[in-house]
């Protein structure tokens, strides 16, 4: 498997609610007010809880396609659980 570098993508912070998307075999997403992102490789496992409010820092992965196709793929570097 080739894994092109994604270092050129800027780090960004998103705030939203973790949800299980029912598309295809299902995937994990963060539903933010302005967009929905798909969590890259369902990592980290600690945030994979339906309804969890989180602030995540990471980057989008334009080099990745998925079967769920629900929005940009977001690779989480750090996260903070809100409330």
């Amino acid at each position: 498997m080739t894994n092109p570098s994604s270092d050129q993508e800027e780090t960004m912070t998103l705030e939203g609610v973790v949800e299980r998307s029912p598309l295809g075999m299902g995937t994990w997403s963060i539903v933010c007010p302005e967009q929905t992102v798909e969590i890259f490789q369902a990592q980290p496992e600690d945030i994979l809880q339906e309804g969890l409010r989180v602030r995540v820092t990471g980057k989008t992965r334009p080099d990745v396609m998925t079967l769920a196709m629900i929005g940009p793929v977001f690779e989480v570097d750090h996260f903070q659980i809100l409330e």
Partner: protein, 590 residues
């Protein structure tokens, strides 16, 4: 006098255009006629009438037909005409063609009855003509595992690009499900059916167990499929940005004659995702079991055709049922899934049937898919592309083997693809009504021509066109990733402004009235040049309302009946009258 002649000629042209507007005139085949006698006609009378037709030897249709008095006799369209003009007419409820229906091929898979999606695309009729023999479909996905209901399906060697190995087994369940829609073993007394079940599958794993994969692996898989003899590629995946590597791989496969089909994406947004939006890729949006766009499906720019993708919101019965693997146990399991991922393999399967029918050029396969699709009227947001996938019509068209030029041009016109910035969907542009509106507007202008300066001012032309039709070609134009409503608004005439932004083809009686011309004239009539725009608009609005009253009078709150026609015609007459009076007063002042 001369002017009257031209007006009469134009009216004749309008009537001809309306008369030849494509309607429900598709005619089936028949070689016999049904006579259905009225229930209150007594048996003696029926027997007497039947005896009078002894030359045509009418027969009771079946032993059950006696009660309903249904007879069948040999004959053609000419005989139907004669019978309808004879005395027989008064005793019958119906004298009509006995259309021939084709034999259906119903598979014996026990859960086939749950596959509403296959009936929706007329699979049974298509199977009687082709099952995809000799065609290879590459499934670029999470891999394919040999579950029991793929035991009779042929495979060719594939590859696992995620783990770099030859066995492309599925550790997610998505790819096996998608492969099932393409070619689930069918007529094997087990499980469910697949679209092109005699086709061979080439499993190519590019997505990991988590369902994601890199553009570079997917591009490698596309080239692999093209080099190893795949005829059709299905990609139920998407996302990311534009990639030159991917675009080149797609062009490479297309040049090698491969038909490439991809899911439009599940973001419920106006634009297909990559790779569906690339040139040479057939982008598929998803339908639910009622034929509506599934709530998650992308639409608009880039969408070429629609197929069942299901919606499990209201229960699994509305999803797409296939056998796949349970990723936790590795065992086979029947699952109802939803997504444009599920819609895409329906189209890939039908593309395989078309290939098996002897059509090899990928552009021609796409043409057949679009031409044969069941077109949807008033698809203002391009939710369905060329329409609903229709396997039976596609295979029939493929086997007809004739390529009339007008069909090719119509296809080109309907799907012209301006690379990746702009998209044009000609099916959203009602060309004939719009040309009629402009024609009527100019005819009205000719009638009042003696009051107009010579040559006609440019603003007068502008008023005629914007009032009657708008810049109507813009209605079909999309710019990727931008909302389409501003273009739709510009592409609509003044009477259509009330509903244009919402993509509602129904007229709003507030804007579809004399009100707009009245306001324009009130404000602009004193202006030396803008007055011509206002007068032109009034004539244009008159033309638009007249044509709408004749062809499609549906208005909000009023409906589409006589009242709507009357309302539109009265307002049309008032608009023209306003223009006429304004011109007359202008002429008097001069």
């Amino acid at each position: 006098m001369k002017r009257l002649f031209w007006f009469a000629l134009f009216l004749a042209a309008i009537l001809w255009a309306i008369g030849s507007y494509p309607g429900l005139s598709n005619e089936g085949e028949f070689d016999s006629i049904i006579l259905n006698f009225k229930d209150d006609v007594d048996v003696a009378q029926i027997e007497q009438q039947v005896a009078s037709l002894s030359g045509f030897s009418p027969q009771l249709n079946s032993s059950f037909s006696d009660i309903n008095h249904v007879y069948v006799l040999e004959g053609d369209r000419q005989l139907i005409k004669q019978l309808k003009q004879s005395d027989l007419k008064q005793y019958t409820q119906a004298i009509e063609p006995n259309y021939i229906y084709q034999a259906l091929e119903v598979p014996n898979d026990p859960d086939y009855a749950k596959q509403w999606n296959l009936k929706a695309i007329n699979m049974e009729q298509a199977w009687s003509r082709s099952k995809g023999e000799g065609v290879t479909v590459a499934v670029i996905d999470t891999g394919v595992s040999p579950v029991k209901d793929l035991a009779d399906t042929a495979f060719v060697p594939g590859y696992d690009f995620v783990n770099d190995k030859e066995d492309a087994a599925d550790d997610n369940g998505h790819g096996t499900h998608v492969a099932g829609t393409v070619a689930q073993s069918t007529n094997n007394n087990y499980g469910v059916a697949g679209v092109a079940y005699k086709a061979k599958l080439m499993p190519l794993k590019v997505l990991s167990a988590f369902g994601g994969g890199t553009v570079s692996d997917i591009a490698d898989a596309i080239r692999f499929a093209a080099d190893q003899g795949a005829d059709v590629i299905n990609m139920s995946l998407g996302g990311g940005g534009r990639s030159q590597v991917m675009e080149e791989a797609i062009a490479y496969a297309h040049d090698k004659g491969v038909v490439i089909v991809a899911a439009a994406g599940n973001e419920n947004r106006n634009s297909a995702s990559f790779p569906a939006r690339y040139d040479h890729v057939i982008a598929v949006s998803a339908l639910d079991s009622d034929g509506a766009r599934a709530p998650y499906s992308n639409f608009g720019a880039g969408v070429n055709i629609s197929a069942p993708g299901g919606s499990t919101q209201s229960g699994n019965g509305q999803g797409i049922l296939q056998e796949t693997v349970d990723p936790r146990t590795g065992d086979g399991v029947f699952r109802a899934l939803q997504g444009t991922s599920m819609a895409s393999p329906h189209v890939a399967g039908v593309a395989a049937l078309i290939r098996a029918s002897g059509v090899s050029d990928p552009d021609r396969v796409a043409q057949i898919l679009y031409e044969s699709a069941h077109g949807i009227e008033h698809d203002e947001l391009n939710q369905f592309g060329a329409g609903y996938l229709d396997a039976e019509a596609a295979v029939k068209l493929a086997q007809r083997g004739q390529w009339p030029f007008h069909l090719f041009f119509r296809w080109l016109w309907q799907t012209a693809f301006f690379k990746l910035r702009l998209w044009f969907d000609a099916s959203a542009v009602p060309v004939i009504p719009k040309l009629l509106m402009i024609g009527v507007a100019y005819s009205l202008a000719v009638l009042v021509g003696s009051y107009l300066p010579n040559p006609w001012p440019g603003l007068f032309h502008g008023g005629l066109i914007l009032g009657s039709a708008g810049l109507f070609l813009l209605r079909g134009l999309y710019i990727f990733d931008l909302p389409q409503w501003p273009l739709r608004l510009l592409g609509s005439s003044i009477p259509e402004w009330g509903t244009a932004a919402q993509a509602n083809p129904v007229l709003n009686p507030i804007t579809a009235s004399v009100l707009a011309p009245l306001l324009l004239l009130a404000f602009l009539l004193s202006h030396p040049s803008l007055k011509w725009y206002a007068i032109g608009s009034a004539l244009g609005v008159g033309a638009c309302l007249t044509v709408s009253a004749v062809l499609d009078p549906e208005c909000l709150w009023i409906g589409s009946g006589t009242w709507a026609r009357v309302y539109l015609l009265v307002n049309a007459a008032l608009s023209v009258l306003l223009a006429y009076l304004s011109l007359q007063s202008e002429a008097n002042q001069a």
